[in-house]
């Protein structure tokens, strides 16, 4: 495990074609710092969901922009900041619904956010519409004070 804080950054056009590159960027770093295969899958999917939301909702065909993905690592956690400068959203409204409501309505729009929260240890949203929207997601190296094991059955 590394002792000093490290920061990686990727700025990339907000297009679905780039989700593949984003996933590879994030998973290669998660692998490098020692996460289990199971956690790498979770981190990769959570970041995909966050970036797909930016591409779908923050930017339009007429006003495409960049997605800024920054990853900071210290001795106990990996923190991912995903920032865009699109139209933003009402954070409170998005967090109110739960997955059952979305499923009941056969709507998929909020499922990405539900997944992000289920896959990561912490997820925070900060949106200043028209200025900047940032999603912060955290994954700890330790679970309940113990080093995570590389088990395929880990939930």
């Amino acid at each position: 495990m590394i002792s000093n804080n490290i920061r990686y950054q990727l700025k990339i056009p907000g297009e679905t074609d780039n989700l593949e590159i984003i996933r590879q960027f994030v998973s290669s770093i998660a692998e490098k710092v020692g996460f289990t295969a199971d956690d790498i899958n979770k981190i990769e999917l959570a970041v995909d969901e966050a970036c797909a939301n930016v591409i779908k909702h923050a930017y339009t065909k007429e006003s495409k922009g960049l997605i800024d993905i920054a990853i900071e690592i210290d001795y106990k956690k990996l923190v991912i900041f995903i920032t865009d400068h699109g139209k933003g959203f009402d954070v409170h409204q998005i967090l109110q619904k739960d997955v059952k409501e979305y499923l009941a309505e056969l709507r998929v729009g909020g499922l990405g956010i539900y997944l992000m929260k289920a896959l990561m240890d912490e997820v925070e949203f900060d949106s200043q519409p028209g200025v900047k929207t940032q999603v912060k997601m955290v994954k700890y190296f330790l679970k309940n004070g113990k080093l995570k094991t590389n088990s395929a059955n880990e939930s």
Partner: protein, 116 residues
């Protein structure tokens, strides 16, 4: 490069879609187009075989959400088969096993259509 492929087979009155590779917000429209083609041909008995799918995001799950109501209203269904544990976990996290029939094996799903 990560890719996605969808191919179609037929077993009696059941259409089978084999999906392969990476199903995300970029590739989901291709699956959507294929299912739309089936619906346009009034083929509502659909099995999707996930054997060669290695990745799925909610955009992929959203494709099934988008069609299921119409397909069931027409007395059909979308049944899902041969998922790897990694793919199944995403469906499970979102509560899909209560909404969709998910089988280990393609033949089990086809049989379900035939006994109806």
């Amino acid at each position: 490069m990560e890719s996605f492929e969808v191919t179609r087979r037929q077993d009696g009155n059941v259409a089978i879609l084999d999906i392969k590779g990476y199903l995300d917000a970029h590739t989901a429209p291709r699956l959507e187009k294929e299912i739309q083609s089936l619906v346009d041909e009034n083929r509502y008995n659909i099995v999707v075989n996930f054997k060669d799918l290695v990745y799925i995001s909610s955009a992929g799950l959203g494709v099934f959400m988008g069609f299921i109501e119409n397909i069931r209203a027409n007395h059909g269904d979308i049944k899902l088969t041969n998922m790897s544990p990694k793919i199944y976990r995403v469906f499970d996290l979102l509560g899909f096993p209560t909404l969709y029939d998910i089988f280990d094996d393609e033949q089990q799903a086809i049989k379900k259509f035939k006994v109806r």
